[in-house]
């Protein structure tokens, strides 16, 4: 048995200076942690889905049964749809930003709106 530090090796950094895209790299570090947590929630949710399906089928909910569970085509489709919906929910702000870029009329400043349309 070779002694290795699994977590340390799994986390190893790739060579080369890491590019940070945000003006403040601290924001990106927090985003990275947020996405990791979001990943783990999705993992837990998929596990919960498996537990529900095992219960529904009257299969004992054991760790072994959870690990060996394989969704049939319909279940797989439903679970992938859940991921797609979930990702869409957590990235809402990004999509709204894009809408604002593409549609100027969504960008009017509320503070100026009352004056601008006073006579409307």
């Amino acid at each position: 048995m070779t002694e290795i530090d699994v977590n340390k090796l799994a986390n190893a950094k790739a060579k080369g200076k890491r590019p940070y895209f945000f003006d403040d790299p601290a924001v990106e570090r927090v985003l990275s942690i947020t996405m990791a947590v979001a990943t783990e929630l999705a993992v837990t949710r998929e596990r919960l889905d498996t537990v529900e399906r095992l219960l529904e089928d009257g299969v004992p909910v054991t760790k072994a049964n959870i690990d060996s569970y394989r969704p049939d085509d319909d279940a797989a489709q439903e679970r992938q749809q859940w991921h797609a919906d979930y990702i869409s929910r957590i990235l809402r702000i990004v999509h709204q930003e894009l809408e604002a870029i593409e549609n100027e009329s969504l960008n009017e400043d509320s503070e100026k709106l009352a004056d601008k349309y006073a006579a409307a």
Binding site: T2, V6, A14, K15, A42, S88
Partner: protein
């Protein structure tokens, strides 16, 4: 196509060596695959709006001219908050994929090494060169954010790089390479069978074959041929050989070697193949290795390469910028150099007759099951092939590929 969903990770092909994946690991791969799909299909296209609506006008205002080079464009985009978000998410997803794939393999490393050894030990179809010097350019870069690259050995008889490559391929390509990850190899076979129906190679060399995912379809297509998969990464070669044996291939030899320093007879191959190889090598290495490949080919032999098509004078700046992205931000620096090279010049300079060169595009063999409708919906090569002009895109056909090469 916003509603097309990728297959789940459990649909990928299995063999005797496939790492065990527990429920949570599987779910993590599913999430990351879906995230890749979302970023590719729904977030990335917005970069273009950001460019047209605000980055380009702002550049023009400041510089008094339009962006003229892809470098101009890249610098200007770096300041855009929408692009920043997409790029940060994309980079981070890649890092997460590496971490999760490595963790799966590392937690069962001893077991996997033992299994690989049971397929590898005593076989004359595997050659590992303990003295091989890792090419300098390869040693400088951890390609696509893969810590330790293809060649690093964490323990004796290591297979980590190879097993991680196979495990994560589905996530990286969002399932678009088919269940065995061999979409490229099957596309090559389709092209060769269709274009050169009489071609019956007896000895085939696949240079930079990695774990041989795309080599095995060549062995399928020409079962009588002796097939050599050569790679500079020992963990790739060990894993690739064990995997091929586990899958029942006994006509494929796996050789650990530097392509610039091969120990084969002059003129001893009928077909030399490279698949997504040259973009990870340096300019000097390309020039030198192409000459060596010319030398290794028998007269009448085929030299065939699969890559992204290079930029043409009329490739729009914005497309150049997106296609260069991996070079700068996914640790693929040599790609940017290759993008602006003339591949025909390279092949000619290696010794090939200019009249015997060709290029073309091809579609992957279509696979049944859930991979069928999916296999091409997310293709990083798709828009590039549209550029190359000679293949019409059909979104229900497999991944499309660009090939070029020549006959000796």
């Amino acid at each position: 196509m916003a509603n097309t969903l990728p297959p789940t990770f459990d649909r990928t092909g299995r063999h005797a060596l496939t790492p065990a994946v527990d429920h949570d690991e599987l779910a993590r791969f599913n999430f990351l695959t879906n995230l890749n799909v979302h970023l590719g299909q729904q977030v990335s296209p917005g970069n273009r709006s950001a460019y047209e609506k605000r980055v380009k006008p702002a550049f023009k205002k400041a510089a008094g001219r339009d962006p003229e080079t892809r470098q101009d464009l890249r610098k200007a985009m770096r300041n855009d908050p929408y692009y920043q978000f997409w790029a940060a998410l994309r980079r981070n997803t890649m890092e997460q994929r590496q971490q999760s794939g490595r963790h799966v393999v590392l937690r069962q490393l001893d077991d996997l090494i033992g299994k690989a050894k049971s397929f590898n030990d005593g076989k004359d179809t595997l050659k590992i060169d303990g003295q091989m010097k890792v090419p300098r350019y390869l040693a400088r870069v951890d390609n696509h954010c893969m810590p330790g690259s293809y060649y690093t050995e964490v323990v004796a008889d290591d297979i980590l790089a190879g097993a991680n490559y196979e495990t994560g391929l589905f996530v990286t390509t969002a399932g678009s390479m088919s269940s065995k990850g061999d979409g490229g190899g099957r596309a090559i076979v389709n092209f060769v069978k269709k274009s050169f129906a009489d071609f019956k190679p007896k000895r085939i060399l696949d240079l930079g074959a990695g774990i041989g995912v795309n080599t095995l379809p060549l062995a399928d297509a020409f079962p009588e041929a002796e097939v050599f998969a050569v790679d500079a990464g020992a963990p790739m070669v060990r894993w690739g050989h064990a995997r091929a044996q586990a899958m029942g291939y006994d006509n494929v030899k796996f050789i650990h070697a530097d392509g610039d320093n091969l120990d084969f007879e002059h003129g001893s191959f009928d077909w030399i193949q490279t698949t997504m190889f040259w973009h990870e090598t340096s300019t000097t290495a390309i020039q030198s290795m192409m000459k060596k490949m010319f030398d290794l080919l028998a007269p009448g032999g085929l030299f065939l390469n699969v890559e992204q098509p290079n930029f043409k004078p009329d490739t729009p700046l914005y497309d150049q910028f997106t296609r260069d992205w991996d070079a700068w931000y996914n640790n693929e620096p040599f790609w940017s150099k290759l993008h602006v090279m003339d591949v025909f010049e390279l092949v000619k300079n290696a010794g090939f007759d200019p009249r015997k060169l060709f290029d073309g595009g091809t579609e992957a063999d279509i696979e049944q099951g859930q991979f069928q409708p999916w296999s091409s919906t997310l293709s990083r090569h798709k828009h590039e092939l549209k550029d190359s002009g000679d293949v019409k895109h059909n979104q229900y056909k497999g991944e499309r590929w660009y090939l070029y090469g020549g006959w000796k």
